[in-house]
Assembly symmetry: C2
Homo-oligomer: 256 residues x 2
DNA sequence: GCTAGGCTTCCGCTCAGCGGAAGCAGTGCT
DNA sequence: AGCACTGCTTCCGCTGAGCGGAAGCCTAGC
């Protein structure tokens, strides 16, 4: 039951490490990479990259497009979907998210905290033309998003401290002053929901509430659900209510 | 602009090939595998598997659970989501699928044909307790599912011929008689929708319609949308209408 | 205690992998 | 046209990373 407990070389000079480095060279902002970019981002010599990538293409893990650029292949898509990334949470939450979406027509998100980022597990995009940067699998800063603020407000002290120390700016409205954000986070805990106003993307506002194990009350905060809309003027109360209903439903279903 | 045109060894004895074999050992029915299972399914010696898998775990591509079993890791989930698997189609279709779901409360599917299978690109699960086997990334037979029948009815002749030659049985209601299925497929083309009655799963019926490039009319069939419900008695007409509206909307949006 | 099955470690051989260097397009500038 | 430049591809001889049989280890079951 112990298992694979080799001290092993931690160095990154094995083929496996290199392959993983190549795969990790892709991210949301780099879905298409040329050979040289790939080599650069994985920190490998070009000929080596060429050979490895060739094999990955042959195996269907990558695909080479007509113009020579490489993209992630369907084979990896298949395998990736099998990862038990909060499968339970996502399955349980899906219908509740759909309810919120149906009732509000907003873009609805389910996110958890992954280190110092909000990891988006699911998204239902609204029809309204609100600019939304997140997709499933995105990781966005905690202090610029609705779900992020909720998750941050309920994160352990050291996470919060670290986050407050590095408040990067995304738009002119991003809150970069630690004290001001800290005040907001206290309010988030007290009032039970968070909002953002064009802090991540111009033209997009959001509301989010925590999902607590067992529903309302003092259960651990395991996730957050949020909605993105063009403006909060009209709908804040309505959205908060809808999200809270969904969050309670999700939390209650999780225990069972 | 040519590129990676090496004849190369097609044999499967490189580290890359082995790694891919290990990853492909996972599928929907085998999300958790022990070392020995992994070795068996990838056709590799156990010690070799042990070493490679150890490195994959170290790189976060796999995760070893407390009981020793391996599952796909979050790192691969991340990368897999970046695959351009019909990204355009999925994004365009999402809001329309949500509409159908909201209107019918049924489980709604978007699928394309991938060889001799229906590949499920998206799913909105209904609240009703209908047994549904498909998840995003599933591949199911073409002749046992609603979306599959639609895709098969509009597939090239040779695909249809091959499919009719191997009608595997999933339930007592599965249609395994070629002539009978062929008649049904003709009707699907004529009437514009397909149905199944407990042919894939007992207790589940489905309706599906084609998505044509440009909407209604003679555009190529590029996908199918379908709904799963406990029974067709009450809702058939309503479902067909809802699905057709969505399919037209998707098809029209695809061209723009 | 004994057996069986599966996991882990060892270790010496060898061949797959390596990557510098050179060749080969395309492209843009003069 | 000529030239410079950038990025992709191929070559090839050296070498150490990978290999996997064998042995050891641990747990579970009898």
């Amino acid at each position: 039951m112990a298992g694979n407990t080799s001290a092993h070389r931690s160095a990154g000079s094995g083929v496996v490490e290199r392959v993983l480095a190549l795969l990790s060279a892709f991210d949301e902002r780099h879905r298409r990479l040329t050979l040289t970019e790939l080599a650069g981002r994985a920190d490998l010599p070009v000929p080596t990259t060429h050979r490895l990538v060739g094999q990955l293409v042959q195996g269907g893990a990558l695909v080479r497009q007509a113009d020579g650029a490489y993209v992630v292949g369907r084979r990896l898509w298949d395998v990736g979907l099998l990862a038990p990334v909060q499968t339970g949470l996502r399955e349980v939450a899906a219908p509740f998210l759909a309810d919120v979406h149906a009732a509000t027509l907003a873009t609805v998100h389910l996110a958890i905290r992954d280190g110092d980022r909000a990891l988006y597990l699911d998204r239902l995009s609204g029809r309204a033309s609100v600019p939304v940067v997140s997709t499933v699998g995105s990781r966005l800063p905690l202090h610029t998003t609705g779900v992020g603020k909720v998750l941050l407000a309920h994160a352990p002290g050291e996470v919060r401290k670290a986050a407050l120390a590095t408040l990067t700016r995304a738009t002119p409205h991003t809150i970069t002053h630690p004290t001001r954000l800290q005040d907001q986070l206290r309010r988030v805990v007290r009032e039970g929901y968070a909002t953002t106003v064009e802090e991540m993307t111009l033209g997009a506002c959001s509301v989010a509430v925590p999902v607590r194990l067992g529903g309302l009350g003092e259960g651990d905060v395991v996730a957050a659900v949020g909605a993105v809309v063009p403006s909060l003027r009209r709908d804040r109360a309505r959205l908060v209510t809808a999200l809270q209903v969904a969050a309670q439903g999700i939390g209650r279903s999780l225990v069972r």
